[in-house]
């Protein structure tokens, strides 16, 4: 947890204090952490295990949750809790027995108000997490468009 992407660059003492704000939750295989459209009040750090992030897709007329990405130990899920309008845009389930640390938005805001330097560092880390996802999906999207263009021109 001390190597969590969200906490990079914080001093060890600060990491301990931020982690102390959280609540550990154990998920059994297949258990849902949050659901698409839910109000997002907590951001989660994956302590161990793996979280599947899915979106619904129509497959042969039936709605199926299709994998969008996976997050594992040290990675962050549920950043919608820190970004308005605070609603989850994916569904998260445990791919196997998984432990996460739930960090409540209000508790984080209060801590960062008192420790702005930590708040800045974590905000920059959060921007990296979001930015990386944006870049990955941008590239994935362009690859799909390229295939569509090739199909059309074939």
């Amino acid at each position: 947890m001390k190597n969590a992407d969200l906490l990079q660059g914080l001093a060890p003492g600060e990491i301990e204090r931020v982690l102390a704000l959280g609540q550990r939750t154990l998920l059994t295989t297949g258990a849902e952490l949050f659901h698409l459209g839910d109000d997002a009040s907590c951001i989660y750090l994956v302590a161990r295990g793996r979280i599947r992030l899915t979106l619904p897709m129509q497959v042969r007329g039936k709605q199926e949750n299709v994998l969008v990405e996976e997050r594992s130990s040290g990675q962050t899920v549920g950043w919608s809790a820190l970004i308005a309008p605070y609603q989850f845009t994916l569904t998260a389930t445990a791919a196997l027995e998984t432990e996460v640390l739930a960090l409540d938005r209000e508790a984080l805001h209060a801590y960062f108000a008192a420790h702005p330097a930590s708040g800045y560092t974590v905000s920059m880390n959060l921007a990296c997490v979001i930015g990386q996802r944006l870049q990955v999906f941008q590239a994935m999207w362009l690859r799909e468009i390229q295939r569509m263009v090739e199909l059309r021109c074939a």
């Binding site: 497959v59 990955v136 799909e144 263009v149």
Partner: protein
């Protein structure tokens, strides 16, 4: 004589079951699925609001079990994500448009 007749009846019954199984295995696709395949093959529009079958012909293939199809989709997503991450490590057009081995699109 009775044994012979019994044998003959059982043989005919076995033949009938075999014919039914063969017929089921080689039955033509339902017309709806054929139509989806035809449309997918002939009429894929860029940015169209057409049904997903037009851009995902595999989804319209009638004999791929849905569990296998979902696994193919999942595998495709993982491969695409890995390709995108490779591109991010060293951004260039060749890596962006590297070929995939995904069975969903090949």
């Amino acid at each position: 004589m009775e044994m012979l007749l019994m044998g003959a009846v059982l043989s005919i019954f076995g033949l009938a079951v075999t014919c039914l199984a063969f017929g089921a295995a080689t039955r033509q696709e339902p017309s709806e699925e054929k139509e989806a395949l035809r449309v997918a093959a002939s009429n894929a529009h860029f940015f169209s609001d057409a049904p997903a079958a037009r851009i995902l012909p595999l989804a319209a293939r009638p004999r791929v079990p849905i569990e296998a199809l979902l696994l193919q989709i999942e595998n495709h997503v993982r491969l695409e994500q890995a390709a995108a991450e490779c591109f991010m490590e060293s951004p260039n057009p060749a890596l962006l448009h590297s070929r995939t081995i995904s069975t969903l699109v090949n």
